[in-house]
């Protein structure tokens, strides 16, 4: 909300935001933990990296921490070891591992250099089921007044239990959509020897399915402080229209999680940092303290958080006809299979009529 104040201030006093180079101190290489274990079937993954200097991708390269021993222990004493995957620094639980409501989990890490770390225990609380999901198209203004962002906002409906304090975290699973192309508009390449740019309609294929790559995600957090025990209808996700996603139908998957109070605080601070605008109403940056401690040196700073959560998942199919605003659709004048990752078969579980 406050973000938009800036636009008004812009107008009156011609203010501006621009990139600005500052001299930053050499960043410390701090161990960073990023991972979840949830009540969903595994495998669950934990990523270990080292922080670096803040700045461009070239300056501070975040490196994975490889060849560590990683394990998760529950409050009943069961220990599960995680194995490093092909992607360095990513450690996975066995596929049959899933967290159980009512237990607490700790992450144990031993690095190659012998240093060991542990997380504080994270309790898994039950999460109310998502009763339904709804959506609507929205337009978001940007500082560039000619290029408003358009997209779809997803709302979750659920009933918050009144007998407990709940902390919620929502994120999206990988989305997928019907990719509409126009192979009949295909033209030959401009360097074609006989017929440059000539029309050469293809017969196939005009509709494919595309599973979105995992990408920078929006997420949202809430605590039931303001709505304990009430039916909820909260906007929790935003999927930006890129001209292709909403040409026919889009499937979004929402994961509603119940996290601990501490995890909620951590995620909220991250959310706050992501939404900084530099305006006079910005909160000053906060030190985002995690829940990992060094067993060798209590003063060592370890970044990140190990989260254990229960999950309720639901899918929603977004129909083109229900969207009031859309970006001008992008035309692919070719076989849709030429788009990387596109398939003719629908992704697993695709069932829009359900």
């Amino acid at each position: 909300m406050l973000k938009r104040l800036v636009y008004i201030l812009f107008l009156i006093t011609v203010s501006c935001i621009e990139p600005y180079k500052v001299e930053l101190p050499q960043g410390e290489q701090l161990l960073t933990v990023d991972g979840f274990v949830t009540t969903e079937p595994g495998p669950h993954s934990i990523r270990l990296t080292r922080s670096d200097t803040y700045g461009s991708v070239f300056e501070g390269l975040i490196r994975p921490v490889s060849q560590a021993n990683v394990a998760v222990r529950d409050s009943e004493g069961n220990v599960v070891f995680l194995a490093e995957t092909e992607e360095r620094g990513v450690y996975e639980t066995p596929a049959d591992f899933r967290a159980r409501v009512g237990l607490s989990y700790s992450l144990l890490i031993e690095l190659q250099n012998g240093k060991s770390y542990t997380s504080l225990p994270e309790m898994v609380n039950s999460v109310p089921e998502i009763e339904s999901l709804s959506y609507r198209a929205i337009e978001i203004q940007t500082s560039n007044r000619l290029q408003n962002r358009v997209g779809v906002q997803i709302f979750t409906q659920f009933r918050d239990p009144s007998d407990q304090t709940n902390f919620y975290y929502w994120r999206q699973g990988r989305g997928s959509y019907v990719l509409v192309a126009n192979p009949e508009l295909f033209t030959l390449p401009p360097d074609h020897p006989t017929n440059p740019r000539g029309a050469a309609p293809k017969d196939c294929c005009s509709t494919c399915y595309l599973l979105e790559p995992s990408r920078l995600q929006t997420f949202s957090v809430a605590s039931d402080q303001d709505f304990n025990g009430l039916n909820q209808n909260l906007p929790i996700a935003f999927i930006e229209d890129d001209g292709l996603r909403f040409k026919s139908m889009y499937r979004a998957e929402i994961q509603q999680m119940s996290v601990s109070r501490e995890a909620h605080r951590f995620l909220r601070l991250i959310d706050q940092q992501i939404n900084l605008t530099g305006s006079v109403f910005d909160q000053p940056p906060a030190n985002i303290r995690g829940n990992i401690i060094s067993l060798d040196n209590p003063d060592e700073t370890v970044l990140g958080f190990f989260i254990a959560a229960s999950v309720s998942k639901k899918e929603v199919y977004i129909q083109r006809n229900n969207l009031e605003v859309r970006l001008t659709p992008r035309i692919i004048p070719d076989d849709c299979l030429t788009v990387r990752g596109a398939t003719l078969d629908p992704p697993a579980g695709w069932n829009p009529d359900n």
Binding site: S15, C16, E18, Q141, S214, P235
Partner: protein
């Protein structure tokens, strides 16, 4: 007094072409009286007929000075003789009035504004040698005529911004409404309008000051030695006095500017008995917004206005009553779904009376209310969030003259403060509401004080002013208060119980003695040294985690967790006037020690927070600085240079490791700006035109820079550890303005045009540096410049 001064003024008057007839006036009916001749006088503006308040009337022969009261009156008791009266007032031509006192009688005097005479411009300060002769330290009084000479900010002269040009006074940035006085936070200033406290003195989040300059007579900022009649805030008192209407003639002011306009009217209701003045100022930013082609901006709204009303009545020469009303209003709608709105409102009744030549009384009763509301009408989850503060108070002040230059004042004050920290009211949404109503408990406090102050001159060389104030504070119910486990940090996990207090039941009291003293030693008539000590208590805290006054800020009364802020200030200064008071110079140093300043915890949540004690930690503050000031009062070029070197530091040490900030070391406060320079010049081009310039420079304010970058859940994030270790780039800006007056045949056509350009060379002064990982670019640092290009404004004002 310097004997050459009258001659200088005489000479200047000659230059300006107005030769004063040196004929003697005979005052009084001659019945052969020789002693105790009582002469009362009245001083009014020759053009407007308004009484001139606070002018000095000096009987040259006796070296005796009187100050005119709010209806422009003064009284003299003289022996039968020839006298020369010299009358001085800021922004007016000095008047020399020779007369013979032969019996009880009246003198009626008029003064004319020197605005457009070529020379002899007093920038401010009522008496040219007041800075040397008074025991006041760090008291700055500014008349509105002075202000009008400065380049305007966004088309208008601005009280708060003009104060920030003076040494020791600064602001966080270009869109911030609070003042930082000698290292004090924005909440450490008590802003009084006609005696009533005003909590949010800004329009449009600090772009404008919420006081209409046309209804202000003058204002005084006390930043070093605060008279004992004031208390309750740590750093400064800004006392703004409204201007009452003329008892004899009707008049008005009109101004039309680029973003706002104002009109004020005044005149007698009962001639020579009761006068009234009303003022209105409003913005028309909405028209500009409406003309935008972006639909969101078109549906946005920004409104502000303020209204003043002053009724002044004279019971007789020695007793008068003033009623003053003030209301400022702001609303701000963001793309039509959320509206932020705030209102300041005050009613004041003031009685001033003179019971004898020695005893005078001043009684002020006030009611002041500040409301802040956020309305959300987004369709789903509608709500209103309301908060506010109400003050009701009474102030009683007596002054008793023990002798010439020997005066005591004493009195007391009390006020009741009610804070409504916030109430969330779910609105009518589609279907069932999904928000719970929530109300943070109201707070009740009572602040009272008794004081005594004694001012006296010990011969020519030494002047002393000392006094003491006893402050009492009571925090009372109804309220439910949490109890925390002893010796553990105040947080959710350590709550062991709750205690409920009944209405009116005392929860916590604080009290303290606040001694204040200043001493002046004059080396000669043009040079003096002053030293002072000041102790202040403050029982109200502004809890903020932004750099300026923002919607998320919360005012909090002292309770068992929030101890009062205690400020000790030591100051020392040397003052010297040069070349017959043409130049005024001063150097002041100060050291300030502040106890119980609040620092927010990382990621503190303040809005609708029932238990603020869990979100902040108490700290210590320290501030020190040197202020150098040179002012040129007279001549074709006038102006001043002020330079301040100061540091403002904070330290947070608690027994609990997780609450310690920056390892318990001193760190710079958000508004610590070591070097601060302001240059202001005004040059008379012709009798009806002048050009003025303001240049300011200050060190960039401290910010926190990330110590590292890390990834979490697909986001690239910054790791911040220590607070305020780096600084944003330095601030500098030049503003220019050209003022000229149109000469018309009637006074209705006498208008002033002001053309001004802010930020002449288009410096992009960063308000903030922030770090973001935005789509389409690598994580990097950005600056936000509030005023990034030269910004011209034009205004036209008319006096009638």
């Amino acid at each position: 007094m310097n004997k050459t001064l009258p001659y200088i003024f005489l000479f200047l008057l000659l230059v300006s072409g107005e030769l004063l007839a040196q004929q003697k006036n005979i005052v009084g009916r001659d019945i052969g009286q020789l002693k105790d001749i009582k002469i009362s006088g009245r001083l009014i503006d020759q053009i407007s007929g308004e009484p001139l308040v606070g002018a000095t009337v000096t009987v040259k022969e006796l070296n005796k000075t009187e100050v005119t009261n709010p209806n422009g009156n003064f009284n003299l008791v003289l022996d039968r003789a020839d006298y020369i009266l010299e009358i001085r007032y800021v922004g007016y031509e000095t008047v020399i009035y020779p007369f013979v006192a032969v019996g009880d009688g009246r003198i009626s005097l008029t003064m004319i504004q020197e605005d457009f005479t070529l020379d002899d411009v007093v920038i401010y300060g009522r008496d040219p040698e007041k800075n040397i002769r008074s025991t006041d330290m760090g008291a700055i009084s500014v008349s509105m005529n002075t202000l009008k000479e400065l380049p305007p900010f966004l088309g208008e002269v601005d009280i708060i911004r003009s104060l920030a040009t003076l040494p020791g006074v600064s602001q966080v940035g270009e869109a911030s409404s609070g003042l930082n006085v000698r290292g004090g936070g924005a909440d450490q200033n008590l802003i009084l309008f006609a005696g009533a406290p005003i909590y949010n003195p800004s329009h449009l989040f600090g772009l404008f000051t919420a006081f209409n300059p046309d209804v202000v007579n003058d204002f005084v900022l006390y930043k070093a030695i605060i008279p004992t009649k004031f208390g309750g805030r740590g750093s400064s008192i800004l006392d703004i006095a409204p201007k009452s209407g003329s008892l004899t003639e009707y008049g008005g002011d009109l101004m039309v500017g680029t973003v706002s306009g104002k009109l004020s009217l005044n005149g007698p209701i009962i001639k020579n008995k009761v006068s009234a003045k009303i003022g209105f100022r409003g913005s028309y930013i909405n028209w500009l917004l409406g003309a935008m082609n972006n639909p969101d901006l078109r549906s946005s709204q920004a409104n502000f206005n303020d209204v003043n009303g002053i009724v002044y009545g004279e019971i007789n020469e020695n007793h008068n009553v003033t009623y003053s009303f003030y209301r400022s209003y702001d609303d701000f709608a963001l793309a039509s779904d959320t509206t932020i709105s705030w209102t300041n409102m005050s009613h004041t009744v003031r009685y001033q009376g003179k019971f004898s030549e020695r005893l005078a009384a001043d009684v002020v009763g006030y009611y002041s209310k500040y409301d802040f509301t956020i309305f959300n009408k987004s369709g789903t989850n509608n709500f209103d969030l309301e908060s506010g503060i109400t003050d009701i108070g009474l102030r009683l002040n007596f002054t008793y003259a023990l002798g010439e230059n020997n005066r005591i004042s004493f009195g007391g004050d009390t006020k009741e403060i009610t804070i409504r920290p916030g109430e969330l009211i779910p609105g009518t949404s589609e279907g069932e509401s999904s928000i719970l109503p929530k109300k943070v408990q109201d707070e009740f406090g009572r602040e009272s004080g008794f004081y005594l102050q004694h001012e006296l001159e010990l011969g020519e060389k030494i002047g002393v002013s000392y006094g003491i104030r006893y402050d009492m504070y009571q925090y009372f119910g109804p309220r439910t208060v949490r109890e925390y486990a002893p010796n553990l940090p105040l947080n959710e996990g350590n709550v062991i119980g709750e205690r409920t207090y009944a209405a009116g039941e005392t929860i916590k009291t604080y009290d303290g003695w606040g001694p204040r003293a200043s001493l002046r030693y004059s080396l000669d008539s043009k040079t003096s040294i002053k030293a002072g000590y000041n102790k202040m208590y403050q029982f109200i805290h502004l809890i903020s985690n932004t750099a300026t006054i923002a919607p998320t800020d919360v005012w909090k009364l002292s309770d068992q967790f929030f101890k009062p802020q205690i400020v000790d200030q030591y100051s020392l200064g040397i003052y010297k006037n040069l070349k017959g008071n043409i130049f005024e110079t001063s150097v002041e140093v100060y050291y300030k020690d502040i106890q119980n300043v609040l620092e927010y915890k990382d990621g503190a949540r303040l809005l609708l927070q029932q238990n603020l004690e869990t979100e902040v930690v108490p700290g210590q503050g320290q501030a020190y600085g040197v202020e150098v000031y040179v002012k040129k009062n007279l001549g074709r070029t006038t102006g001043w240079a002020s330079y301040t070197y100061s540091r403002t530091l904070r330290r947070v040490i608690t027994p609990f490791e997780e609450e310690i900030i920056n390892d318990g070391e001193w760190f710079p406060a958000n508004f610590d700006k070591p070097h601060d320079l302001t240059l202001i010049g005004n040059y008379k081009l012709a009798t009806n035109a002048s050009i003025s310039a303001t240049f300011s420079y200050s060190t960039g304010r401290p910010v926190s820079f990330p110590e590292a970058k890390f990834d979490f859940a697909g986001n690239s994030l910054a790791f911040f550890n220590e607070r305020n270790t780096q600084r944003i780039p330095d601030f500098h800006r030049l503003d220019l303005s050209l003022n000229f007056k149109l000469k018309g045949n009637t006074k209705f056509h006498d208008g002033d045009w002001t053309f001004a350009v802010m930020n002449v060379y288009g410096r992009k002064n960063p308000f903030s540096v922030f770090f973001a990982d935005q789509t389409g670019s690598p994580p990097q640092s950005y600056i936000l410049a509030i005023l990034g290009v030269p910004f011209p404004t034009l205004s036209y004002s008319l006096k009638f």
